[in-house]
């Protein structure tokens, strides 16, 4: 896609870009912001747009011109006054922050501007986050800090308190579906995918080599067995799901699919039948049947069980173990009180 960076920011977050423009016009840009939003919501795009706009020598109608020397340096990714930190591996460590802060004080010139972008702010270690507190509370004139996160509550309260928190607008479901359709992703998969992410790019990656299609089918089959209290589901964990769970990201997607399909079942049981609200539309019939078969309390218990599995993966419990245990506990729940 030959989309200019500022076009992307504006397409993804029109309201926020408009707001920032007004703030810049009034010269009221705060020194520290925390951008919050899921993957694909355009946090980084907005940050890039802001960088261009801030440094551009000849902004026009509130937009960077993209041609001046400053814009060019930013576009080529080597502007000395813009420093970016991102998680290498799972964390941002204190040394990295220290290094960046040093970088900042070194060349602080009179009247100049500096921009500090921290991606994955929630991935900072305690040490790293704490070592920023003084710095982001009262930085020198012309210094701006943008922090980006998918999960606001994982950012230290002392950090949040020092920033203006800007929540990205959620993408509209229809827009997202259109974009996926344009990439020729089949309808069934599109509907499921938007239940997991807002990022088109992410979905594209999952769909490579037909992996996502297999995952959706695998989870649906497992669901059909397990929701009948059928222990065949236990075998399906090994024969279908484990084979697909080749790396950590894929394991996560599979677990999220399991959570999502049971979420659909719960909604259907509560009388939500509008296909626009559901993701696994092909299973809707089966779900309808479950509503008559089990009590709401049972379905609730199962949904809650599926909400716990992501935590387990986070605690390094083996994927197969998680899903097998889950299968047993679901069957147990569905059989224990039983359909009368």
């Amino acid at each position: 896609m030959a989309e200019e960076p500022q076009e992307r920011a504006e397409r993804l977050q029109p309201r926020i870009v408009a707001r920032l423009k007004r703030i810049l016009d009034k010269h009221e840009l705060a020194h520290a912001y925390l951008f919050v939003g899921p993957d694909g919501s355009g946090k980084l795009e907005v940050a890039r747009w802001l960088a261009l706009r801030l440094f551009c020598l000849h902004p026009q109608d509130g937009e960077p011109d993209l041609t001046c020397a400053e814009c060019q340096r930013i576009l080529s990714g080597n502007h000395p006054d813009i420093v970016t930190a991102a998680a290498e591996g799972r964390q941002i460590k204190v040394d990295e922050i220290r290094h960046l802060k040093a970088e900042f004080t070194k060349s602080a010139m009179e009247g100049s501007q500096k921009l500090f972008i921290i991606q994955d702010a929630d991935k900072m270690t305690t040490g790293a986050a704490n070592s920023l507190l003084k710095f982001i509370e009262e930085p020198g004139p012309g210094v701006y800090i943008l922090m980006l996160t998918t999960n606001k509550s994982a950012v230290l309260p002392t950090i949040r308190s020092r920033t203006q928190v800007i929540e990205m607008q959620p993408l509209r479901r229809a827009d997202l579906l259109d974009q996926l359709a344009a990439l020729e992703i089949p309808k069934g998969q599109r509907l499921v995918a938007i239940g997991l992410t807002d990022s088109v790019q992410q979905v594209q990656e999952w769909c490579a080599d037909g992996w996502f299609a297999q995952a959706v089918t695998g989870v649906s089959q497992w669901f059909n067995s397990v929701s009948q209290g059928n222990m065949l589901a236990f075998v399906e964990v090994q024969t279908k799901l484990v084979k697909l769970a080749t790396d950590r990201d894929k394991q996560q997607v599979l677990l999220d699919l399991i959570t999502l399909i049971w979420r659909d079942a719960l909604l259907v049981a509560n009388g939500i039948s509008d296909p626009d609200r559901l993701h696994f539309v092909n299973e809707q019939g089966q779900m309808q049947a479950l509503a008559g078969q089990y009590s709401m309390a049972q379905l609730l218990t199962v949904s809650q069980l599926t909400l716990e599995i992501r935590h387990l993966l986070g605690q390094n419990v083996n994927f197969q173990n998680i899903v097998e245990q889950l299968t047993i506990r679901i069957v147990q729940t569905l059989r224990a009180v039983g359909a009368e």
Partner: protein
């Protein structure tokens, strides 16, 4: 010229400008007036409540030659240099960035030299919880042999990370979270000064969203201001804070109350598609329900103006649901809040929550009681009934057979991890503060308790009507010569009381008047109390005359809280009894808060000596027969 955030422009420069910290500021001013300066202070408390500001004001006040009533003049050269951060004798250190031994040793060496311009050299060691162990040791040495005319002020949001050896050498001040009222007043003041228009409702929304941080309130206010030209509007405040409007909350609440799950799910969808913040929504809903509960208890417990609703609204809302159900809702919400903290898919949680809340009924049917899991973050099946046992056996057999099948199917050796999942420990927002409880317990006597019981009514007479009704369901359970522990019947009221600084201050003030000495008040939820007391006895032994440190409490409590969970799930509370059913109680903190007493470890020992007594006898001696019996768990 860069824009200056409100919270920087409006940094308090006098003690009087610090809102919500009267006790702290009064004591500090007295110290200046009477010239009784300690050589080391600890300022502890939540983010954005005035610790760093107070440290700087204090640095000025001790050095200002024109100080009046304990306040700095802010005019003289010394004051102005300190405000600008240019006085060499006032040194602000970022402990998070300079946390090594070397850096602290360096301070030690330099602290020896007398101040050059000012009377006192003041070291403000901010974020002091980040010091390494080595650095703390180096600091300790300095505090043990304080150089003349040097004052250390340590500031932190996490006092439990400071070694006790340090704590015992400083004078400690606890900064409190800023109440919505104080935040509201301060914002009003600032806006009036700036001549900016505002809707009061907008300020309430901001004050509530700030959750006790004054800086947070000003950050939000700044952002709301950036939306409009010189006006603070309600709509903007709702948008910036991600708050759901009261009308939408009311609608949702009534749908829950009437068990209309499809409608409630629809409302939830509207809330989510507007991009409201899930966490904020839960918080808003909790305080909404809290208001309804308090209104049920007594209408003057809440300030209706601060809620953005009308009196009629509250009448109909509080008629819609019983207290029992409201308590259950709050418990569910507290649980989910914690679970949601680390998810990137909050929507599903909120939908499941919605269905769950719709299931809450005053009269649980047998099926409900059996199957609705009250809480199930432990890796246990919810209801071990005989029927379920049979199912489990059958399942185990099936699993065994299946595992053999699977074994044959296995291609690669995807080994199954043996380690069972760790049940996660839940945390509530307000926790029991062992650091304050243990010192009282350590010096508790039966005589003191009786004395306090006798004074209880008199103390109540010093309070306002709402404060009194909050204490309706509480009573003193242990007391020493310097403090009392008060237990609340409901966990929820415990939370309410603990965050009500005015209440604590009023009670302490009343006791001080009645007894003529300073007196500390600490709260606990009643159903946690037996456990706390038992742990204390176990850990400290009543015979050993050990000062209460709170140091050894780390492991026992959270574990037992988790292991109690499955049994709680089976006992459905009778509907008529407004207990908090199967409530996951506020667990004891994971890390023990260190001694919360200003005086460090208590040096006057409890009067009893109970060598070789069993804990129960010992406890009876300590607290009196009736109490031990009643509280038996």
């Amino acid at each position: 010229m860069s824009y200056q955030a409100l919270y920087r422009v409006w940094r308090p420069q006098r003690f009087d400008e610090l809102v919500g910290q009267q006790i702290v500021t009064q004591t500090l001013k007295n110290a200046i007036i009477t010239n009784q300066i300690s050589h080391a202070y600890l300022f502890a408390g939540p983010r954005g409540t005035g610790k760093t500001s107070a440290a700087k004001i204090f640095a000025k006040a001790v050095n200002c030659h024109h100080s009046k009533d304990g306040e700095p003049c802010n005019q003289c050269d010394i004051c102005q240099a300190i405000t600008k951060g240019q006085l060499n004798d006032v040194i602000e250190i970022d402990a998070a960035s300079n946390n090594g031994v070397e850096e602290i040793r360096d301070i030690r060496d330099k602290a020896k030299y007398a101040p050059t311009q000012a009377d006192y050299k003041v070291y403000i060691i901010d974020e002091v919880h980040m010091l390494s162990t080595g650095a703390f040791n180096a600091l300790l040495k300095t505090l043990e042999e304080p150089p003349a005319n040097v004052i250390f002020i340590l500031a932190t949001t996490e006092p439990h990370k400071i070694p006790l050896t340090i704590i015992s050498r400083v004078q400690r001040f606890d900064f409190r979270r800023i109440s919505a009222q104080d935040a509201f007043d301060r914002m009003k003041y600032i806006l009036d000064q700036k001549k900016v228009d505002y809707e009061e409702k907008a300020l309430w929304v901001i004050a509530n969203a700030a959750e006790g941080g004054m800086r947070d309130a000003l950050s939000i206010l700044d952002q709301v201001l950036s939306f409009s030209d010189n006006e603070v509007k309600l709509d903007d405040a709702l948008l910036v804070t991600g708050s759901v409007t009261k009308q939408l909350l009311k609608k949702y609440f009534l749908e829950l109350a009437h068990h209309e799950s499809a409608n409630a799910l629809d409302t939830m969808k509207d809330i989510l598609t507007e991009g409201k913040d899930g966490q904020r929504f839960i918080e808003d809903l909790i305080s909404f329900i809290r208001d309804v509960l308090l209104y049920q208890e007594s209408p003057d417990l809440i300030s209706v103006a601060a809620t953005g609703l009308k009196d009629e609204d509250f009448k109909s809302l509080s008629a819609a649901v019983s207290a029992t159900s409201l308590y259950r809702m709050i418990d569910e919400l507290n649980d989910i809040q914690e679970e949601m903290r680390f998810t990137t898919h909050p929507d599903v949680y909120l939908e499941v929550l919605t269905v769950k809340l719709c299931q809450i009924k005053d009269q649980p049917t047998p099926a409900d009681a059996q199957a609705v899991p009250q809480q199930d973050t432990t890796a246990q099946p919810a209801q071990p009934s005989p029927a379920a046992d049979a199912t489990i056996k059958q399942l185990q057999q099936e699993v065994q057979q299946l595992q053999q099948t699977v074994q044959q199917l296995k291609t690669s050796g995807g080994a199954v991890a043996k380690k069972p999942a760790q049940p996660r420990v839940k945390q509530r927002k307000v926790q029991v503060n062992l650091g304050q409880i243990y010192p009282v317990l350590g010096a508790a006597t039966r005589k003191d308790l009786v004395n306090i019981q006798n004074l209880w009514e008199d103390m109540l007479n010093h309070l306002t009507v709402p404060q009194r009704s909050l204490l309706h369901v509480s009573k003193p359970v242990a007391a020493s010569a310097t403090g009392v522990i008060v237990a609340f019947n409901y966990a929820f009221l415990f939370q309410e009381a603990t965050t009500d600084d005015n209440l604590i201050a009023a009670m302490e003030g009343a006791f001080q008047q009645l007894m003529g000495t300073e007196y500390k008040v600490v709260f606990v939820p009643k159903n946690k109390w037996p456990q706390i007391r038992q742990n204390y006895i176990k850990e400290h032994g009543l015979d050993r005359r050990k000062p209460a440190t709170g140091k050894t409490t780390a492991s026992a409590a959270p574990k037992s809280a988790a292991s109690q969970a499955p049994s709680q799930a089976t006992t459905a509370a009778p509907a008529s009894q407004p207990t908090v059913p199967a409530s996951p109680e506020p667990p004891l903190p994971e890390e023990p808060p260190v001694d919360g007493d200003d005086d460090g470890p208590a040096d006057n020992q409890p009067a009893h000596s109970a060598a070789s007594q069993d804990p129960v006898t010992a406890a009876k001696q300590l607290f009196g027969d009736d109490i031990v019996k009643i509280e038996d768990n």
